[in-house]
């Protein structure tokens, strides 16, 4: 269980990136954070990954407070971020320094097979396409068997076909160990394809606007009517979140008025 309690982040220059985020994610649940640009999705993910420190609030994993990168939390970035001087298999093994060589080999081989790149094991990242590189990055995060996997728009730079195949690879890997997944995306289709719940966020400051459960059965068919309905629901919520005037809670408006007064 991943719990975010009253999480907020204010940058040194006074920009409020996140304000009072409360969210709990069940073990094995896939939650998608969705929202327009600048609503703090990536910031939130970086807080959970321990790459940035929250200004206030706490992040708890199974009751244990997280303060910094944690072995049970993996992250896949927007870019593959593979180390160009390591072969594909060495890149996947990057986080497996602590286990025995034979087990490491086994796990890497299994991951390579899962992502369908076994024949590329000895190649350098530069020889792979963008989609293949991102698959390696996903495998690198998965081989450490994290309890929580954070995905920061990992498919945003890819074309639609590649993206669809990567969704399948991701779900295939997820099926094995069922980690908790927090996926940041700006693609509603993607959120509905992958997630059990969509959390719609709102900018300035970043906060949670609405949560929508997505209870479609898997595998999900994009041409299905329920799928279409879910997409429409998320889109409507997203639409509302971007019209701050009449959707803003009274309390928030008061606070802003007070800030103006000062």
């Amino acid at each position: 269980m991943l719990e975010l309690e009253h999480l907020s982040k204010t940058y040194a220059d006074g920009t409020r990136a996140l304000s009072d985020i409360n969210l709990s994610v069940r073990q094995g649940e896939i939650v998608s954070l969705i929202g327009g640009s600048g609503c703090g999705k990536t910031t939130l993910l970086r807080l959970i990954a321990g790459l940035d420190q929250a200004s206030t609030g706490a992040i708890k994993l199974d009751g244990e407070a997280l303060s910094g990168p944690h072995p049970s939390v993996g992250i896949v970035f927007q870019e593959p971020r593979l180390l160009p001087w390591l072969s594909v298999s060495d890149n996947i093994a990057f986080g497996l320094d602590h286990i025995s060589a034979t087990e490491r080999k086994e796990r890497v081989a299994h991951a390579l097979e899962k992502i369908g790149l076994i024949e590329h094991a000895k190649r350098w990242p530069r020889d792979l396409s963008g989609g293949q590189q991102q698959r390696v990055a996903i495998a690198r995060a998965f081989v450490t068997n994290p309890k929580v996997l954070l995905l920061d728009e990992p498919f945003s730079a890819l074309d639609a076909f590649t993206r669809a195949s990567l969704h399948e690879h991701l779900l295939g890997l997820w099926e094995e160990t069922r980690p908790t997944v927090v996926l940041v995306t700006h693609d509603v289709q993607e959120a509905v394809t992958l997630a059990d719940r969509a959390v719609v966020m709102q900018p300035k400051p970043g906060r949670i606007f609405d949560e929508l459960p997505l209870t479609l059965s898997r595998p999900r068919d994009k041409t299905d009517l329920p799928f279409e309905t879910s997409v429409r629901r998320v889109l409507t919520a997203l639409d509302h979140s971007l019209k701050p005037s009449h959707q803003q809670p009274q309390r928030e408006r008061d606070r802003q008025a007070a800030a103006l007064w000062w």
């Binding site: 990168p69 971020r81 160009p84 320094d97 350098w124």
Partner: protein
């Protein structure tokens, strides 16, 4: 006969593929031809000058023809004199390069990896860098005498600065995104340096060492000008004082060859370390 061969080639799949795409060796051969293009201009100029002197159009006293330069070079090589000079110069450059290079790497790494050390060291080193290295010569001679030590010190100073700047700059410009990958996998400072920073700075470190080596050869001439009894720089001075332009040019050619060979060896030696680079083509 040849038609038959072509037919059999076309009839098989591999044969067709081989005909369609030039094989790797063929590509290599084509590339070699273009390398030879670079020799065209100097050889043409040399031949023209040789002809001009032979046909009496020029005297060739101050600018000796290539044949005479090579004769001088050959004579120097046969008496063994050339090798003494080459060895003396090479020893000085290598010793100075190793001292300056190691110091540059150590100080560059320190200054690149710690903000405090950078603030402490960098201003002083930058101020020292602003001094033309030749200006140290009188001081080095006073301190270290006129023999090898002062020469090696001058070369080491010349090598130090480009290496220091290159290494510190390379560490400072390592991609933050890759460093974050290290943070995510909770690498310690030492692990981070070994597994991410070191490999990331290698390509630029090689370039820094190469420019250091180039400067080393520059400064060895200056060092040998200031009073040496052997070395290629001594050959230069000797040639000037004795009025032997062919000896000067022979020494210059020896310098060019030596510098190129040393640089190529450095590139060759470090190639396995930077083979992963995603660059347009091999560096020159």
């Amino acid at each position: 006969m040849s038609g038959e061969i072509a037919n059999s080639a076309w009839s098989s799949q591999q044969g067709a593929a081989a005909l369609a795409a030039p094989s790797l060796t063929e590509k290599r051969r084509a590339f070699d031809w273009r390398i030879l293009l670079g020799f065209l201009l100097p050889i043409a100029v040399a031949l023209l000058w040789e002809a001009a002197v032979r046909f009496g159009l020029a005297q060739g006293r101050l600018v000796p023809p290539p044949s005479r330069i090579f004769a001088t070079l050959l004579a120097l090589a046969e008496t063994g004199e050339l090798w003494t000079h080459v060895w003396a110069t090479l020893w000085r450059v290598l010793t100075g390069f190793i001292i300056g290079g190691v110091a540059g790497i150590v100080f560059g790494a320190l200054s690149g990896s710690s903000e405090t050390i950078r603030r402490l060291l960098d201003p002083t080193l930058q101020a020292l860098r602003a001094i033309p290295s030749i200006a140290w010569v009188p001081l080095f001679i006073l301190w270290l005498g006129i023999f090898e030590a002062s020469k090696v010190a001058l070369i080491a100073v010349g090598v130090f600065f480009p290496v220091y700047l290159g290494i510190a700059g390379a560490i400072l410009s390592v991609d933050r995104k890759l460093v974050e990958v290290g943070h995510v996998f909770r690498l310690s400072r030492v692990q981070l340096a070994r597994r991410i920073l070191l490999p990331a700075v290698l390509p630029e470190a090689v370039i820094a060492l190469r420019s250091g080596l180039g400067l080393g050869f520059m400064f060895v001439v200056a060092a040998e000008f200031m009073g040496a009894s052997e070395g290629l720089g001594y050959l230069l001075v000797d040639g000037q004082q004795m009025g032997k332009p062919d000896q000067i040019l022979a020494a210059i050619i020896a310098f060019a060859l030596l510098g190129k060979i040393a640089d190529s060896l450095l590139v060759l030696g470090t190639k396995p370390l930077v083979r992963w680079q995603d660059i347009v083509r091999e560096r020159l």
